[in-house]
Amino acid sequence: MIEARGVSVSIGRKRIIEGVDLRAQPGRITAIVGPNGSGKSTLLKALSGDLAHEGKISMHGRDIRTVKPHEAASMRAVLPQSTTLSFPFTVREVVRLGLLGGWSGVPAREAGRLPERALVRVDLDGFAGRFYQELSGGEQQRVQLARVLCQVWMPVLDGRPRYLFLDEPISSLDIRHQLAIMDVALDFARRGGGVLAVLHDLNLTAMYADSVYVMQRGRLAAAGAPAEVITDSLIARVFECPLRVGVVPRGVPFILPQTAGG
């Protein structure tokens, strides 16, 4: 389990997030949502160990300050919002970088074929020989997801669940690939891994997430199951936008932007 207790992050003299508690459990998709600039990505960076923090963040019960980079890399993989490369890598070469640490969890002789399998998972079959720089933003994002999947290919390693940290994994994708990528995350969670994702799309959050953390101005505004959290009053308060939340028969809330202002 990934657990944050009273986590605060300052950059320079500016407090970016303040006193956040969060738990990401194996077998579940945990979503972090909130308006632009509310501290979602900063929270994910603190959980990834990129930013110095106050409070406590633990991974499998260990304080992440004491976890070495190579140990952390065997427990979780991180997908950044976007990645630019200065050198002409082919798609296969980029995906293969995910195997660099050797924690995919499959035997070495099978690991060589993982890049192709990962590319199939993100619907980029046949793209292996293309140059990364020649792809669209959404395609590049899916290549990076394939790389991240290679790093933690088996969701459980030596009996311990592993995690995917995804920073806006679907914000540059078309609707078909948004669903496809969320299905990849869901599959990872169903097979025993944990997923922690910063998301913008509240409808997909409601559809896929098991628990939702709502950030507002660096603090936690609400946390819980989607049906408890995504409500008229919370949306109006946090996003400062009067929207009506509907509910489809299975109990999943949805939001239509057409309801704003009316």
Binding site: H70, P88, T90, L97, L100
Partner: protein, 363 residues
């Protein structure tokens, strides 16, 4: 990326599955053969007509009169140290360039462009001019290593300053790095100028000889002094390759994949400064090898440092030996400075590469 990017013809032929490791392994073998040929060229070209074959036969059966005593001295005491020095310096320059480009995630990074060579020159010139006075204790302790070690210190100082100035929150700014490199290089050149201004006649002769950028005057002592610094730096390169590959995705992503980023940066900076410093100390400033060779190789085998670094060492060595062969035969009996050859041939070639690859190498 422009929308017509996918419609463009492939800029290089790449295996359909995007795996260039087979091609890279073949390149290593081919470049080994090229280096052997270049060494043969280095040993056999010059005013005396002792051929590589004759040298080889003399080795296998010494004393059967294939080589005259005069030719043997020319080969053993002039051409061979010069050839070995060319291999060391060429490999050092090309590998330094490749490592620096990986470290800064920038295909423009090169010791000569960002001022590291200027810093190394300042270190070397300080030792030549002040070696008998201000730096006399250091000169006495270091002996034959005085020049390469002082050049190493100069190069290291510039690299450290550059990294501190250009890197903020784990991101290295391309523009800041180039501008800072130019500024630091200008300061180093100014201080070098000041030292030349106060140098006496004998020191000036040493300086002129040294700064021409040449492998002329190679002796086994020089080779020995340079090898002690260059070989460990080159030896570190294979251990950097995996980390530099991860670093291509950025410092944060490299850390997430388990790479000890800080240690990688420290080792890479010291290795680049050592290799560049020693190369500058024994050969003056030789331009363009560090940027040309890695670029050409990335076109051929891709940017995977596990193959790029050994290939750069091999091709850098071969390139310098060929340039040196041209330098000493094109204006016989005089010698052109080798820096003129590498810059005159490298400049146009580099422009051509840039024009051809603008689409993929999007700075």
């Amino acid at each position: 990326m422009s929308s017509d990017a996918t419609a463009m013809a492939p800029l290089t032929t790449v295996e359909p599955d995007g795996d260039r490791s087979g091609r890279a392994r073949f390149a290593i073998v081919a470049l080994c053969v090229l280096l052997v040929l270049a060494i043969a060229l280095g040993v056999s070209s010059g005013a005396s007509d002792a051929s590589a074959l004759a040298v080889l036969r003399d080795w296998l059966a010494p004393g059967d009169g294939v080589l005259s005593e005069r030719d043997r001295i020319i080969v053993h005491d002039i051409r061979m140290p010069r050839t070995v020095l060319g291999v060391l310096v060429g490999a050092a320059l090309a590998v330094s360039g490749a490592v620096m480009q990986g470290l800064f995630r920038n295909p423009l990074a090169d010791p000569t462009i960002v001022g590291v060579s200027a810093g190394a020159s300042l270190g070397a010139v300080s030792m030549i001019v002040l070696g008998a006075t201000l730096l006399a204790p250091a000169s006495a302790v270091l002996g034959i290593f005085a020049l390469p070690v002082s050049a190493f210190c100069g190069g290291l100082a510039v690299t450290l300053i550059l990294y501190r100035v250009a890197t903020r929150q784990g991101q290295t700014s391309i523009a800041t790095m180039l501008l800072a490199g130019i500024a630091i290089g200008a300061m180093a050149i100014a201080m070098t100028g000041l030292l030349i201004f106060i140098a006496d006649d004998r020191q000036l002769r040493d300086l002129t000889f040294w700064s021409l950028g040449s492998l002329a005057g190679a002796t086994w002592t020089k080779v020995f002094a340079a090898a002690w610094i260059i070989l460990p730096a080159l030896g570190a390169a294979p251990f950097l390759a995996r980390g530099l590959n991860g670093l291509a995705l950025g410092e944060a992503a490299a850390g997430h994949m388990g790479i000890p980023v800080q240690r990688l940066k420290h080792v890479a900076i010291v290795a680049v400064a050592a290799a560049t410093g020693a190369a500058v100390a024994v050969s003056g400033g030789i331009a363009f090898v560090g940027i040309l060779v890695p670029h050409l190789l990335r076109l051929l085998i891709g940017p995977d440092n596990r193959y790029l670094l050994p290939c750069a060492a091999l091709l850098g060595a071969s390139t310098l030996l060929c340039a040196d062969a041209v330098a000493r035969t094109v204006a016989v009996p005089a010698e052109l400075p080798i820096g003129i050859i590498t810059a005159a041939a490298g400049g146009p070639f580099f422009l051509w590469v840039l024009l051809r690859r603008r689409g993929v190498i999007d700075l």
